[in-house]
């Protein structure tokens, strides 16, 4: 059985109502949520390999208990502009930094 190639980090889209965003707003307006998902295996630097090693043995040997992430994460590198909507009580709201514009392994 051939190993499935992991999907690289990229922007994905999902149609949701504003209520479903979990931000506490009640509105049936539909919004296109863009988010980041996928693997970052191709983006490991020497830093990540060193951190992996340090987590396994390095820190303990030096008397440290630090926790570090040992690999890049697929995260937004830019967000979409403001988004406005009318809630179910006829009030307008503007929300920011909800939807990803670009994703990257950081």
């Amino acid at each position: 059985k051939r190993a499935r190639r992991p999907k690289p980090c990229s922007v994905r889209e999902l149609e949701l109502t504003v209520s479903e965003l979990g931000l506490g707003y009640e509105s049936d307006e539909t919004v296109l949520l863009r988010y980041c998902s996928g693997k970052c295996t191709a983006h490991r630097h020497n830093y990540d390999m060193t951190m992996e090693h340090m987590m396994r043995t390095g820190f303990r040997k030096k008397g440290r208990k630090d926790k570090v992430s040992n690999g890049p994460c697929c995260r937004p590198t830019a967000f979409e502009k403001d988004f406005s909507f009318l809630d179910n009580n006829s009030r307008y709201h503007t929300i920011q930094n909800v939807s990803a514009k670009n994703c990257g392994c950081v």
Binding site: D28, E29, T30, L32, K81, D82, L86, T94
Partner: protein, 228 residues
């Protein structure tokens, strides 16, 4: 067999054409951006300034400019359904009434005389021409089926939209779903000798069967958009 289809309720949710219009706009990059732009400008309250007690609660000029840009740059297929959607209930009609953020773009602290409002409009080149357009294209014509000149509903809707963001920004006067009444933010009370002229001017908005028919027929999908 096929399940029975209720025209008003589908999937357990009441149908709301104005909400559908908002969805279509939010899924389009340009429409979403320009709608968010005018909504956030028009809903932003200005902090009270000492020494100017009759200050407007928002930046009206900026709001009106953002509204004009929205209707100029967004294709009518996306912008008109927000404004002229047909409504089965009050919640929908309230959404329709709030489309242009009337608290900032339509209403003012002070309700001017309608002729005074017309004078303000006529002193501005763009507003004057838009108002003349409206009078030409939405003039009630008794000898046509629709009540519009040459039965041209689209021409009337375009002229109406052209006024949004001007000194004579019209809007729905309430959240009645079917009994559509449009008006300007002005009055003719105490208008003196010109009271009749004033009433006649405002009646072109409040009692205009051509305009009302044009909006109703757009909402029910029997009419397309503007003539190219």
């Amino acid at each position: 067999g096929e399940p029975m289809r209720d025209p008003v309720v589908s999937a357990g949710k009441p149908c709301n054409p104005c909400l559908d219009a908002a969805k279509a706009c939010n899924l389009n990059e340009t429409c979403k951006r320009l709608r968010s732009a005018y909504n956030s400008i028009c809903s932003k309250t200005t902090p009270p300034q000492p020494g100017s007690p009759n200050q407007e609660p928002c930046s009206r000029k900026r709001c009106q400019k953002a509204l004009r840009q929205f209707f100029e740059r967004v294709p009518w297929e996306l912008s008109y359904p927000l404004l002229f959607c047909s409504c089965p209930d009050q919640a929908c009609a309230e959404r329709r009434r709030r489309t242009i953020v009337p608290s900032c773009s339509h209403q003012e602290r002070h309700r001017p005389n309608c002729l005074e409002l017309r004078r303000t409009c006529r002193s501005d080149v763009l507003c004057r021409s838009r108002l003349a357009d409206f009078h030409l294209n939405c003039q009630v014509t008794p000898h046509t089926v629709s009540g519009c000149p040459h039965d041209n509903h689209r021409g009337c809707l375009m002229s109406y939209v052209g006024l949004i963001g001007s000194d004579v920004t019209p809007n729905y006067s309430d959240n009645s779903p079917s009994n559509i009444t449009l008006s300007l933010w002005c009055s003719c009370r105490g208008g003196g000798p010109q009271e009749e002229e004033c009433e006649a001017f405002h009646r072109d908005f409040t009692h205009n069967s051509c305009l009302r028919n044009a909006i109703l027929s757009f909402g029910y999908g029997s009419d397309g958009g503007p003539v190219p």
